[in-house]
């Protein structure tokens, strides 16, 4: 009797999981699995027929797709590097004993809690070439020669997407680095000081190796995030001019939901390639970074 009651209780508690499990299953697992199937079809959202590897073959001959893969690699490398570089610089700064530091930390972290779309549109207005704040300020300062089409020149548009993403998320990396820095025992710094290590040497030989776990998590998070970069590009350039600033996520969206987009099967095949790329890259990076982590 007891065991039956126990089972009933367990079923009751399990029932609380059903809503979230159902949502996860319906809105994540099933679409993810079905997208693998649709990657081998010419699905237009209603009809489909099996076309084997045709989508994958076409993908590697399609100039716009290759551009978006190239852009995504540029975004991933640049954003991951600069976000973590500035993140650690800010974290080290925030470990100093200064007045108002909590406020400064909050200011640095704040952009990360806002919607990336909101940030993207706001920067879009700032960088608008005709009536945007940046070109207007440059004009007021008689620096017209520095004015440019920030979001329509492909070079500057890519640069600005990288800049805005780094600006938004460096505070996020900073918080993780601060947590790592706080975990380093003070005794290590004291003994290093006795041995004559100060400043830069202290950072290179103590701080840097001991915050390796923070590096691992930061690099993994920012790499995955930038490989899926969507909102900033969507809000700031829409992938344009032409296809010049498109990321893979933007291209997938264009193929499925753009003005004439109906190639959902083709988009699904890109998603599969992206999924595999992220998975292999993550496994590789985690293995490499784990090796340099130090236990203390």
């Amino acid at each position: 009797m007891k065991s039956i009651n126990k089972k009933i209780t367990e079923i009751k508690w399990f029932s609380f999981l059903i809503p979230s499990l159902a949502f996860y299953l319906i809105f994540f697992v099933l679409p993810a699995i079905s997208s693998v199937f649709f990657a081998f079809t010419d699905w237009d959202g209603i009809n489909y027929k099996f076309i084997g590897l045709a989508n994958f073959v076409e993908m590697f001959h399609d100039e716009s797709i290759l551009t978006s893969f190239g852009n995504t690699i540029i975004y991933a490398i640049s954003i991951t590097f600069f976000q973590n570089f500035f993140g650690i610089v800010l974290a080290v700064f925030c470990m100093k004993k200064l007045r108002g530091l909590t406020f400064i930390r909050t200011v640095f972290f704040m952009p990360a809690i806002f919607s990336a779309l909101l940030i993207g549109y706001t920067w879009g207005f700032i960088l608008e070439p005709n009536i945007g704040a940046l070109n207007t300020i440059l004009s007021v300062l008689h620096l017209e020669f520095l004015q440019t089409s920030w979001l329509s020149d492909p070079f500057w548009a890519r640069f600005m997407i990288i800049f805005v993403t780094v600006w938004q998320f460096m505070g996020y990396s900073m918080v993780i680095f601060v947590a790592g820095l706080k975990a380093i025992p003070n005794e290590l710094y004291e003994s290093a000081n006795i041995d004559g290590a100060h400043g830069w040497k202290e950072f290179i030989y103590i701080t840097f190796p001991l915050i390796a776990p923070s590096f691992t998590i930061n690099i993994i998070l920012s790499t995955i995030g930038t490989l899926k970069l969507f909102e900033q590009v969507y809000a700031m350039t829409g992938g344009g001019p032409g296809y010049m600033t498109e990321s893979v996520a933007i291209t997938i969206n264009r193929l499925g939901f753009g003005g004439t987009g109906t190639r959902w099967g083709y988009g699904a095949s890109m998603s599969v390639v992206m999924f595999l790329a992220i998975m292999f890259l993550t496994v590789f990076v985690v293995n490499k970074l784990r090796k340099r982590e130090v236990d203390f």
């Binding site: 009751k12 029932s15 609380f16 059903i18 809503p19 159902a22 949502f23 319906i26 237009d44 959202g45 209603i46 009809n47 100039e63 716009s64 551009t67 608008e128 070439p129 005709n130 009536i131 089409s149 920030w150 979001l151 329509s152 020149d153 492909p154 344009g240 001019p241 032409g242 296809y243 010049m244 264009r254 939901f257 753009g258 003005g259 004439t260 987009g261 109906t262 190639r263």
Partner: protein
Amino acid sequence: MKKNISLFLAVALIATSMVGCGSKATPEASTTAASSTTTVAAASTAVVPAKEANLRYLTWEYSESQGATDAWIKNSQDKFNITIDMQNAPGDTYNNVLKTQIASNDIPDLVRVHTITNDMLLEGSTKIDTEMFADISDLKAVADYDPASINNNKRGDKLYYVSMVRNALGGIYNKKVFKDLNLQLPTNYDEFIAVCEKIKAANIAPIAGSFKEAWTIQIIPFIAFGQYIESKDPDIKNKLKTGTTTYADHAADVKKALDLTQIFIDKGYVSKNYLGTDTTVACSMVGTGKAAMLINGTWMFKQVQDSNPSAEIGFMAIPFNAAGEKTTLGTSSDNGICISSATKEMEAARTALEYYLGTDIQTILMNDLNGIPTNSKVTVDSPSFKEISKVLTLPSVQVLGEFWDGNYFPGSVVLDMGKDFQNLLAKGTTSDEIVKKYTDLCAKALEAKK
């Protein structure tokens, strides 16, 4: 007790989630289903003569045709006891909203469409069954429309919709700029270049570039395609669709059309920051005289005028022709309403559509859209219409019934010409590559059709 309450709430939550999935939308539900949609249903105060009916109407263009739509909804209720629940989906996602409703077998009673191709591709991309929409050829109002707006939308004997508005591509220009510089409207390419040079010399941008919006980049190549290719071969559309000819066969002329915008940019005729400027700013540049003309469709006339109501705005055909040749003026008539064959209110749907196609609503619609009516009984008295009509009847102008677009490809080709042309201006591709791409796309589509 707490456990029981929690359990009850959990079950209720699951039940609510499940109810939300897959239920067929009722007219009432459709009005609240999506937060991004707008619903307008008029309250009736008049005497109602007929049996009550509810119709669902899907459109994308409520903001452009608000006057006509509001009048139609209100009067349908008052005159015919027909309640029209409108779902206004955003234009850029309209195709997907429609596709989703078709996929879930939940097609509204009345559906606004841009086009149904000969290959039964709704909005140029979604393959539909020939039985999906009802034949409306026996509606009385249809007889008042010009033959092209009927015949283009017939598949076999079946008329799916009537094109209600005709647009033309050309230059919307600021008359004061031309008057101040003592300029005559150009009638050939050399004169056009000379006019642009004089405007440029006066520190005014001859052409307002709004190429941040990719669709606007299509206009100059579309006009040029009409002049260089279609004027020589009026059947080019069908030949390209059927593979009788290819884009490669016309490579020199297609490239000439594609490269023309860049030539104007290189000559300094296009306003600066053209790839970062949208139509709102470009219209305002023309309205305020900072730029002389906007090369676009007649549907932009109102926006230019509204940017400066005191400005005198005109419309001209853009002459890419040599001296002695006629200037082509690309026009198109699309945009109609279909009746779903599956509607349970067929008579009400026909009554409502008959009323929409009639002169009362069409007159309001033409004023809303600043378009050229295809209904012969509709007269429009707006300054913009007068300007446009004047150009349409010029002896030096050859009016083309269509202009280059996705319909100049075999049915299953899906492409975004605006993005391709924007990519060309951003140096992401070349006109040679675009010609090759379009040739290959056509060949592939025709091969698949076999």
